[in-house]
């Protein structure tokens, strides 16, 4: 945004000597260059983000079954329906439980991995790559591996084989919701997929901490280990931690793939996106109600993100360090 204002500032921008050979016309104008670079992104953003959000908002006020160009205006009916739908409100609870688990565990695990990798004297690049690799795996592929080989219910599933060594009976990890073993399957899959990426973020931040701080602390008599971690490393990682928690929360809100693939045909363990998928694209094809739910969810995400930014000071730049 701020870049656009520079076009009204005539003076300092063209630092080239006046005699410079006239190049191709396009390069002459910074405005054109700006739009050339920014336009593809802006067009993409408009077409794939803002238009759909706007369209959802529009659809949410209509009775729209089996159509995305409805004509039957129903006002706030869809909102009334979605907010009194116990499945939808239940899905918000499911999400909260899920986020309460996954955000702290991923944060802790990726920080732990980063600390370990950072301490390595050799083969650091190898371990960094090894831990990062799962990030490249698709959620669907990982869910299938988790479902069909690690956590299947038969005696030759990996988890059941290991338990079998201790004489524990086979467990139906996904089919039987009591006890809710499915959470274990979902959380481990997501941990495996995500931790490596956030580990890289932490690793970069760790390497940015000035060594002098540790040296000074050592002179002051701080013991290596918990004390330096608690009073130097952790505070220095504050900005990164905030960003990681925020990203994790957003990722948790977007949870869909592994729930959809691991828990098909259930009435439990559905986060909001899965619930909305079944509302809008199930056999009802109720786009109106689905859109109302999407709008409610969007508002919730905005509120939570702003609130979190307030508390943790995300985006306040230097001040937050």
């Amino acid at each position: 945004m701020s870049t656009t204002t520079t076009r009204t500032v005539p003076g300092p921008a063209p630092a080239e000597p006046a005699k410079a050979r006239p190049r191709r016309g396009l390069r002459g104008s910074r405005t054109v260059a700006f739009w050339l670079f920014a336009a593809p992104f802006l067009i993409g953003l408009t077409v794939f983000v803002y238009v759909p959000i706007g369209w959802s908002l529009y659809l949410s006020f209509f009775e729209a079954r089996f159509t995305v160009t409805p004509s039957d205006f129903v006002g706030l009916d869809n909102y009334r329906q979605i907010l009194s739908d116990t499945h939808f409100t239940g899905s918000l609870v499911t999400f909260t439980v899920f986020a309460a688990f996954i955000v702290p565990t991923t944060w802790a695990l990726s920080l732990g991995l980063a600390l370990l990798v950072n301490r390595l004297r050799f083969m650091r690049a190898f371990y960094r790559s090894v831990f990062f690799l799962p990030t490249a795996c698709s959620y669907v592929a990982a869910s299938l591996v988790w479902k069909m080989s690690l956590f299947n219910g038969v005696r030759f599933g990996l988890a059941n084989t290991v338990l079998g060594l201790f004489g524990v009976d086979n467990i139906a990890w996904l089919a039987n919701p009591d006890p809710p073993w499915y959470w274990l399957v979902i959380i481990t899959a997501r941990l495996w997929l995500q931790s490596g990426f956030y580990m890289i973020l932490f690793l970069a931040a760790l390497q940015n901490i000035p060594q002098e701080l540790y040296e000074a602390a050592a002179i002051d008599g701080a013991k290596r280990g918990w004390q330096t971690f608690r009073y130097i490393t952790l505070p220095q990682l504050r900005a990164t931690s905030t960003a990681v928690v925020l990203l994790l929360l957003v990722a948790a809100y977007q949870a869909f793939d592994e729930f959809f693939n691991l828990l098909s045909k259930t009435t439990w363990g559905r986060p909001p996106l899965v619930e909305l998928y079944y509302t809008a694209l199930g056999q009802d094809q109720n786009y109106g109600k689905g859109s109302a739910g999407a709008v409610v969810l969007t508002v919730l995400i905005c509120v939570v993100t702003l609130f979190q930014g307030r508390i943790m000071g995300f985006g306040r730049g230097e001040e937050s360090k």
Binding site: F66, T67, V68, K147, M148, S149, F151, N152, G153, V154, R155, G157, D169, A172, W173, L174, A175, N176, P177, D178, S264, K265, T266, T267, W268, L281, G282, Q283, D284, Q285
Partner: protein, 420 residues
Amino acid sequence: MSAQSSTWDRRSILRAAAGLAAAGSLAACGGNNGRGDGSGSGKQLVQYFHAYGEAGTEQAIKRYAQAYTKADVTTQWITGSNFESKLFASLLTDQAPDLFEFHPQIQLVRSGQVADLTDIIEPVKSDFNQADIQSHTVDGKIYGVRMIDDPQFFFYRKSMLEKAGVEPPQTLDELIEAAARLTTSKVKGLFLGNDLHAVINPLIWSAGADTLNEKNEIAYHTDGVVEGLRKMRKLFTSGDLLLDAPADFWDPSALNQGLCAIQFCGMWAMPQFQQTLGDDLGIMPFPKVGDAGRPSVYNGGWSMFVNAKGRHVDAAKEYVKWLWIDQKKYQEDWATSYGFHIPPRTSIARSTDKLKSGLPAEGVQLFNEYGHFDNIGWTQAMITATENVFADCVRKGGDPEAALDRCDKTVNAELKKLFG
């Protein structure tokens, strides 16, 4: 020097990668829409099939299409377990298939989604299984051509039952008891599929109830069904049921790999069962539930429908007529060469030797004696509602009455929409 050249290397690699990605996605766009540019010979038709599990089925469907000269028919072979949602979603778009296989469901007729096929079926109507004609008829018009009938029942290992001293169960109680006695440390007694949804309708019928009655009112909410649901919950929690198997009920793997002694499956998998287990194989219907019940078999199957909102309705109808009415050779091949299915055409069923003796003949007998066909008024939304009943009170231990009440609400809303 070296630093610079390595930057260049990186850049060119990146550029190449980006180029590849772009080309890849473009190619994917070009290849996936299932439609050519219309420059081929005649019309371009697209048909949707769910992925059949038997080897050779995809090639067969494509081979039949190849043999058709009047249009260029492209097949989309839809893998995954949610064929219906993919089908319904694509029917809304302009990438919708011109023809597709599905089950008869009245909402497709009411919304004008499927074309009236009466004119192509009428001349051979008497050659069809009349139950199949009836299940595709709304107000005297016939909306789909049945390709195959697929009875679903239990397959069991005779040797295992003998060893455990168990007779083939006649009631649900006996089935539960048999499952317990057949379960060992290595083998589970019974497999009903991972979500148990395949036995919902059989349970309803075996309890002497039905999905809907003739007046299209709810007929499944009876004391017998409630009792059946309670028993299913007992079975689910007994530890004698195989759960979370790598392959679901429609695949013969569970019984063939020795994971269970009795498996619910369909006639389609009979050749694979026989190949692996030989004579150590018996079949039986879903046993009766309570005293008022009667054993039942779900005569499922697949039918061809024409998308009435598609661009080439007449060409699609012509293709359906050519393949599923006229080409009896292909119809017989489709029904008996891969899995076993019962041909809905009586003339073909009579002439097919493969189903005349042994276990296949027993399967045909179960189909005739205990079979229940689709009710066209029983739609996907109602099916999902009953699946939720199973999820809530069999897999999750809720109260069956409460679950059925919730189901009633959904089904009644749906019935009101469809029948007023």
